[in-house]
Amino acid sequence: MVSCRQNNAQRIVALDERAEDFGLKPGMGIADARAMYPDLEVVEADPDRDQLLLESLADWCDRFTPLVALDGRDGLFLDISGCAHLFGGENAMLAEILCRLTHQGFDVRAALASTPGMAWAAARYAKGDCNVSPGQEETALAPMPLAALRLEEKTRVGLESVGLRHVGALIGAPRAPLARRFGRKLVTRLDQALGMVEEAITPRLPVAPLSAERQLAEPIGTREEIEQLVLILARTLRQDLERRGEGARRLLLSLFRVDGAVSRIMVGTSRPQREPLTVAKLFHERFSALEGSLDPEYGFDLVRLSVTVTAPFEVEQTDLAEGTACEEEEFSLLADRIRARLGEGAVLVPVLAESHLPERRARFVPFGKEVGAKEAIDPAEKIRPIRLLEKPEPVEASAEVPEGPPLSFRWRRALYRVARAEGPERIASEWWREDEPGPTRDYFRVEDMEGRRYWLYREGLYGEKTAPRWFLHGIFP
C-alpha cells in the first residue's frame, strides 16, 4: 500500500489487490485504514522515482516502436502504425507487450484503438475486450463513464450533476449547448476519442530518419560481438544512405538489455559518413571510453543503430593529386575518433574574429562545426602572447608611477620582480557591442629577472571611482 500526504493527512494513493479485498480505497486516511487492519504495510509515495520508472519503461517500449509518448504519471502511448507487422500483427504485438511486461512484474492494462483518446478510455474502462477496431468507437465509448473522456474534475462533476453519466449521453446530445455550458474542451475530447479530430502524441525521443535493428534470439554481451553487429547494421544503413544521397553526421546505438534497461551510445562525425568500417571504428573508440560503465549483465537482445542527423553527402571526385583531399579526410576521421573516445568537446580549433579585445579575437570551437571564412594572421599585428589564460587572473602589483608599468607582482602566490617592461598598449572595451562597456585596459609586456615574459594589464584609470586593478592575461614564450 502506498501513502501520500494530501491536505495535511496521510492518505492512500495506491494499493494492491489484497488491500482492495479488505475494502480499502484510494483516498482513505492511513489512520483509518490502520485502525481497521493494524498490520498494514505502508510505503511512502515517491513521485520522482515513479516518473523515472515510467521513463525507463518507455525506453524499453522503444523496442516496439520509435513513437513512445508519456501520458501523465501512469500511462504510455505507443504509436504502432507501420510496426505491427514486424511482430505478427496488432493483436500478437499487444499480447507480446502485455506478456513481457507482466513477466517483469507490472500490473498492466493495454488497449488497441485507432485514436489515442479511444485507446486511453478502453485501457481504463473497457469491460471485456479492450481492442476497439476502427469504426466501432461510438459503440465502445457509449457505455463508458464520463471519466473515460480525460475531462477535468470540474467539468465531469458538472456533467454528472445534470444527470449525464455516460459518454453515450453526450454523443447524442446537441453540441453547441454542451460547448457553451462546459467549454470547448469537452467537445474536443469527445471528437478526439471518436477520431473526428486528429490528436498527435508527443514522442519522448526524436524519431531518427533512418535506423536498422536486429533482434537476437541469443543475447550478446561481449564488446566484440556488439562491434561486429554494429558493422552489419552499418552496412544495411549504408544502402539507405546511398539511396537518399546522404551521409550520417550523428549516429545513435541503442542497446536493449534483456532485463529492460536501455543503453544509448551516441557518436558524431565532422563530415557526413557512410562507410560501415568508419562507423564501426567510431563506435570502437566509444566503447573503449565507456569500458566498465557499459554493463551487459544478462546481455542485449535487441540492437538498433539509427542515424539521427543526416547531411547531404558530396561524392568527391578523385583527381590526380588526391593528396590534400585524402589528408583532410584522414584528419576529420582521426578527430572524430578522438571525439568519440575523449568526449564531444575534446577536439577544438581556433577561430579568429574581428575584435581588439584579446579574448574575443580568438576562441576555440569544437572541430567540425561550420565556421565562417578562415582568416590568416596579419604579420603586422601587435605582439601577442602564445597562451592566453581563460580568465584574466588578478595579481597584486606595485608600480613606480601611477600610470607606469609594474615593478613587481604576485601571481599565484609567487613574487615576480619585473626587470623590463614594454607598454602600455591601451585597449578600450567595445562600447558598440556592449550595453555597459567594461573598463579600459592598459597592457604591458613584462619580463621578470629570470626571463619569464608575461602580459599584464591594469584595468581602469587612475582618478576614477574604483582604484585600478592589475591582471595577468597571457604568457609569452
Binding site: 584528419f331 577544438l348 581556433p350 577561430v351 602572447p385 592566453l388 623590463r420 609586456r445 614564450p477
Partner: protein, 324 residues
C-alpha cells in the same frame, strides 16, 4: 692486444645489434676511428644543411651536439623545471615544431599540428592563443587542432593514433609532472610510432623530474632574458626583444650535452645562439644571415648569462628550483 681487439669487435657487433633493435642510428655505436668520417657536416649558406631525418635548428653548436639537428622521426622531450616556466617550455617546443614542419617532408603543403593537453594544463597555463602562435611561430589558425584529454591513457592513445596517421606536421603532448604511467614503455611506444610514420612527436613535461625515457633527445628548457630589440640606431634600451631560451641538452643521440642560450628568430624560423659574454663572436658567413641581425645583440642585458649557472644548478640541486 689481439684479444682486446677481438673483444672490441664483439662489443661493437653487439652494440650494433642493440641499435638495430632500438632503432638508433648505428654510427654512435661504431668504433671511434670508424666514426670519424660521419662527423663531416653539410653546410648550406653557412648553416648546417638538413640531413636525412634531421632539421637544423640554426645554432651550430646545438646542431652538432644533436648530431645534425632535431630528429624528425622521433620522440623529443622538452621539459621544464616548474609550471611557471610554461611559456618558455611551450615556446621552445613550438619552435622545434616550426623548424621541423618547415624542413620536413611535405613542407610545401603546410600540415596541421595536433596539440594534446592533459588534464588541467589548459586552465593552468592558458589556452593556446592563435594570434601569438601565428606571429611567433608562423602557425596559421586553421593548422592547429587542440585536443583535451582527462586521462593520461586517453592522451597517450590520441598521440599514438596521431603519430601513426603520419599526416600531421607534429604531434605535441603536453602534461605536467611525472605520471607513473608515462614510463619507458609508454615513451618507447610513442617513439616507435613517430619513427614508423616519420613524424615528430614532442612531449612537453612541465615541472618534471628527469627520469628514464625512450626519447632519443631530451632538452631541459628554462627561460632566459631576451635580447634587446634592434632598431635602426642600435639596440633599444630596456626593450624586450625576441624570445630567448636556456636549453640544456640532457640526452642526445651523440651523447654530448651542454647548455645553450638560444634566441628565436621568428622571421627565419631558426634559433640563434647567444655566445657567452666573454667569447662573443659575430658569425656572418653569408648575406642571408645579415638580414636578421638578431644575434648581434648584446649578450645579456640584465644579470649574467645564465647558461653556465643553469647547468651547474641542474647537476647539483634540481630540487630547489621547483618552487613554482
Amino acid at each position: 692486444m689481439a684479444r682486446m681487439a677481438m673483444a672490441q669487435e664483439k662489443l661493437f657487433a653487439l652494440r650494433r645489434e642493440i641499435a638495430k633493435i632500438e632503432g638508433n642510428l648505428p654510427e654512435r655505436f661504431a668504433a671511434p676511428e670508424a666514426g670519424a668520417g660521419s662527423e663531416a657536416v653539410l653546410r648550406h649558406y653557412g648553416r648546417l644543411a638538413s640531413g636525412a631525418g634531421f632539421s637544423v635548428t640554426g645554432a651550430p653548436r646545438l646542431d652538432s651536439a644533436l648530431g645534425g639537428g632535431i630528429p624528425r622521426a622521433a620522440l623529443t622531450e622538452v621539459s621544464g623545471r616548474a609550471t611557471r616556466d610554461s611559456g618558455a617550455v611551450c615556446g621552445f617546443a613550438l619552435a622545434l615544431a616550426a623548424i621541423v614542419s618547415r624542413t620536413g617532408a611535405g613542407a610545401q603543403s603546410a600540415r596541421p599540428i595536433l596539440w594534446i593537453c592533459l588534464g588541467d594544463m589548459l586552465s593552468e597555463a592558458g589556452f593556446p592563443y592563435a594570434p601569438g602562435l601565428g606571429s611567433f611561430f608562423g602557425l596559421a589558425p586553421d593548422k592547429l587542432l587542440l585536443a583535451r584529454a582527462g586521462r593520461l591513457e586517453d592522451a597517450l592513445w590520441a598521440a599514438e593514433e596521431a603519430a601513426r596517421l603520419g599526416s600531421f606536421s607534429a604531434t605535441i603532448l603536453e602534461l605536467r609532472g611525472n605520471p607513473a604511467k608515462l614510463d619507458l614503455t609508454a615513451t618507447r611506444r610513442l617513439h616507435l610510432r613517430a619513427r614508423e610514420a616519420a613524424q615528430p612527436v614532442l612531449l612537453i613535461r612541465h615541472s618534471a623530474e628527469p627520469e628514464p625515457t625512450a626519447a632519443p633527445t631530451r632538452l631541459l628548457v628554462s627561460p632566459a632574458p631576451s635580447p634587446l630589440r634592434e632598431a635602426l640606431a642600435g639596440p633599444l634600451p630596456r626593450s624586450i626583444g625576441p624570445p630567448a631560451f636556456a636549453a640544456t641538452l640532457s640526452k642526445s643521440r651523440t651523447g654530448k650535452d651542454g647548455t645553450f642560450v638560444l634566441d628565436w628568430n621568428s622571421h627565419d624560423f631558426a634559433f640563434q645562439e647567444r655566445w657567452p659574454a666573454g667569447e662573443r663572436r659575430i658569425v656572418r658567413e653569408s648575406g642571408r644571415e645579415a638580414q636578421n641581425p638578431g644575434h648581434l645583440a648584446a649578450a645579456s642585458f640584465n644579470g649574467p648569462d645564465s647558461a653556465p649557472a643553469a647547468r651547474a644548478r641542474l647537476a647539483l640541486r634540481p630540487e630547489r628550483r621547483r618552487a613554482g
